[in-house]
Symmetry: D2
Amino acid sequence: MPLDHTARGVYVIAPTPFHPDGRVDLASTDRMTDFFLQQAGCDGMTVLGVMGEAPKLDQAEALDFATRIVRRAGKAGIIVGVSAPGFAAMRALARGVMEAGAAGVMIAPPPALRHDEAVATYFRQAVEAIGNDIPWVLQDYPQLFQVQMPPALIRRIVTDNPSCVMLKHEDWPGLEKISALRGWQADGSLRPLSILCGNGGIFLDFEMERGADGAMTGYAFPDMLAELVRLCAAGERDRAHDLFDAHLPLIRYELQPGVGLAVRKYVLMRRGIIASDAQRKPGSGLSATAKTEVEYLLGRLARHDPRARV
Amino acid sequence: MPLDHTARGVYVIAPTPFHPDGRVDLASTDRMTDFFLQQAGCDGMTVLGVMGEAPKLDQAEALDFATRIVRRAGKAGIIVGVSAPGFAAMRALARGVMEAGAAGVMIAPPPALRHDEAVATYFRQAVEAIGNDIPWVLQDYPQLFQVQMPPALIRRIVTDNPSCVMLKHEDWPGLEKISALRGWQADGSLRPLSILCGNGGIFLDFEMERGADGAMTGYAFPDMLAELVRLCAAGERDRAHDLFDAHLPLIRYELQPGVGLAVRKYVLMRRGIIASDAQRKPGSGLSATAKTEVEYLLGRLARHDPRARV
Amino acid sequence: MPLDHTARGVYVIAPTPFHPDGRVDLASTDRMTDFFLQQAGCDGMTVLGVMGEAPKLDQAEALDFATRIVRRAGKAGIIVGVSAPGFAAMRALARGVMEAGAAGVMIAPPPALRHDEAVATYFRQAVEAIGNDIPWVLQDYPQLFQVQMPPALIRRIVTDNPSCVMLKHEDWPGLEKISALRGWQADGSLRPLSILCGNGGIFLDFEMERGADGAMTGYAFPDMLAELVRLCAAGERDRAHDLFDAHLPLIRYELQPGVGLAVRKYVLMRRGIIASDAQRKPGSGLSATAKTEVEYLLGRLARHDPRARV
Amino acid sequence: MPLDHTARGVYVIAPTPFHPDGRVDLASTDRMTDFFLQQAGCDGMTVLGVMGEAPKLDQAEALDFATRIVRRAGKAGIIVGVSAPGFAAMRALARGVMEAGAAGVMIAPPPALRHDEAVATYFRQAVEAIGNDIPWVLQDYPQLFQVQMPPALIRRIVTDNPSCVMLKHEDWPGLEKISALRGWQADGSLRPLSILCGNGGIFLDFEMERGADGAMTGYAFPDMLAELVRLCAAGERDRAHDLFDAHLPLIRYELQPGVGLAVRKYVLMRRGIIASDAQRKPGSGLSATAKTEVEYLLGRLARHDPRARV
């Protein structure tokens, strides 16, 4: 089912599982997909994102990996990151995964864009390249991509491109941006748009209160994210914060640029979801000290949340 | 007493208190200085840093403000940020504050530097400009300054410049950097150096365990930072993390770029330390929603830490 | 006389002459001012610009230097670069030089600005800081400042701020930008605005044909620039290009970032306009090979233009 | 024949010819190849470089295009740009074109690298990815890639990687860098390395005098570049500069970022080398005014160089 603006809940950012020798680990891919969608309560998955080591896959591998997950996922929505240095590669991957049954694609702006017109033009051209029949997610991650999109520019892009159905919100700080966009929707000056939040979930408690529809991030306990979203939806503010606060020390630890993926894969491995925390080269690893720190955090977390008993 | 490599504890980053009409608030400046140094347990203060709205002061105001705090501080060490677009202004401020009795100065690299030789040359020239008799702090804050200094480059700068006595560590991620530097000191390939940590304190729990000497950051509860440093020094690992974790939701909220200073000033005002949370123009403010979020966080924190009962 | 939108001709970017020991060279300052304004045919001068080593002067020196030139200049217009990391310093210098009789000031955007609203806001705040009674020049130099201002953003800034009277155009490429702005003026959607061109003059031949009012750059033969502007105004296209082309090899050589100032000061010294090519530390110098290259270029130029016989 | 450090002369940067409808124009590709290698006196070609619209081709198109030129080229050396966001794509293209008979590949650093160790590590990993049996060209283009490599870092990379046989030098300014590298080769501290210069050729006159081996750039008169290299090799300094100076106004006009490719393709079309100046979308075009400017420049050039009579 194609993605639309009613999407909500948790679309977990999935890593790409590798064997220690660098091959894609298909068994872990299947197990991870099943865990995320059937046990963890996620509504969908996003693959080949920043945390998915996408550039380390060649074109055929990327399409195969996404296709395998799409097929395994059944009715859950799979979003595929298709950002690329050129529109030919973007189009090829986007058309390929949509034919395979993906729900939509995600596009980030290239780092060189420096003013509103350049950003707006880029997304118009990207949509022209992939075709305006593919629902897509606008990724707003200024820290990584160095492109800043204030609310008015997001509204312009959304208005220009009817096939844009979701904002992946990971500006930082970003709470006022959610409020501004939701305010415009309330007064009718912006059409409906799903807003899912990234940044490792480090502001998800308040992002939900500001009006976000859920999370799209790769924190290694997406089951907690799903529970948090449910608590917020149920108006259980204090319980939501209690849950969030218990996880915050680890959320914070996972949010380290570069190192974060290694932490995430390590925790997923310790939870038994993937077989190995290997990254395809060139990858980063955890030092022995870092591993003891993660274990210490898991131990502390386990006092509050049995899911952390690994 | 001049700063040297034995400095440890908390050197709180002080904001510059303003009246709502934009004048420097001298009474609040004195009250804040007394609170930080006599009640909160800080070992020193750092003024005119990034959070100090330094560029909004003209040259005379900056010198007056720093001098007032130096005089009020008595024996506690005051460090003054002297980063400037040119060496003439840097020298003038550095010589001025040292004559007034400051303990040392802090220098950040300008954003355009893009390779090791350029960075090393810059600091040699800066030391030549201010004079090699002034103890100084090397500020390593790549997120803000866009200059990256891996451990080997820090060692080179420290070795080149005997008057460099401290690293203000706010790389992110940064834990392995502390371990690398401490390892070199253990094997004799790097001379002693104080390492105080910034980044709003968001990794202070583990930074202390990696060998940091303390904190240099502006979190609005420096009394907690001081307690945390003491707990870590006493080997009370679990109690240190318990204290840290209770504050982490607010630490995280304060760490928002741009907005962070507004949160910080608001909390300091609510604690009665400064009279107003005004920023000199152009300043950022807190929305009504943001204020309720801060109050909610203070309320939750107060269940664990009575200092948050405001 | 205050600067206004009718300004045209050549406002030469003046270097700051130093003695080899680093003191400002006042005699050379006076001689240079006289040469530029009385002999070279310049209509004005711009001091404390990027090429003026402005950050190496402290606040008092900068004001003294600008004031001396303003007084010496008589009726010719002196524009003073007042870009600063904070508005306090910007205001102090701007008010100071205007009281001394400057014609206007020039403001560049700080490098961190990344979207239209941020840029527009910055200039509104800058004008509020210096006062809306000071005529000012908008400096558009994306290569150096990393801030991109497409024509629509320039129009917005000019429209927002009635005291903005001139664009210093040094975008690259930039010819279409001039055409776009002049087109809007022709159709009434942009008020009159002086456009003077920088970038070392390397596109001045075609910039004049696109509608520029003249040059604001520091090429060491401003007398040639003034002659070129006159030839263009007189419709002498081929003669203008002949003159320009004869100088282009040296213009190109001067346009090297960093090294350019050393070339410029060397040529001004060889022309007898300033006594020394010294830069205040930290400065760049010319290698012996580079000096022979400049001499070779001067020799070749002298076959076409007797002004190059030094 | 594989590329090695003895390469010299002109390796012209080839555009990718397109039909107006966006298909690769194979007839123009062949005609261009023949012209460059058989008539213009070029020693080789570089395809899929920055000016080659490489990211607009998908993986298969890129390999097909490079292969066609390699086969047409006969014994002349074809270098293929293989820079990619990930090593999987880089390896696939590099292995593919070498199997087809390319002479070597060219690799540029990704923009995010900010210190020496990061840059050196990147190239070690790239060589590991493509295999250390492929001769490669180090592209040093800080203006575009924002990565700065001072001479000592280039030496480190060259020393680390024996398969690096050439530097594409397009730092700006860059003359002293050539002198530094050649000085190290003279004193034995750097092994032999071919240095070909880019930047549109705008400093080729002096770059040759500093010791460069030739040009690797896309100026639309590579026949002039080849003649210039021969004149320099023959010690005909004044004749070399006379030739260069005649072309400099157009060289300068072509060097405009973004617009440059449109100028280049337009001139190649006017010279009858390619059938259309079309760029695959998203492309830039020349305004009517710009075209008249190019025609004017060609007309002026034709007085000195009959090759410009189009």
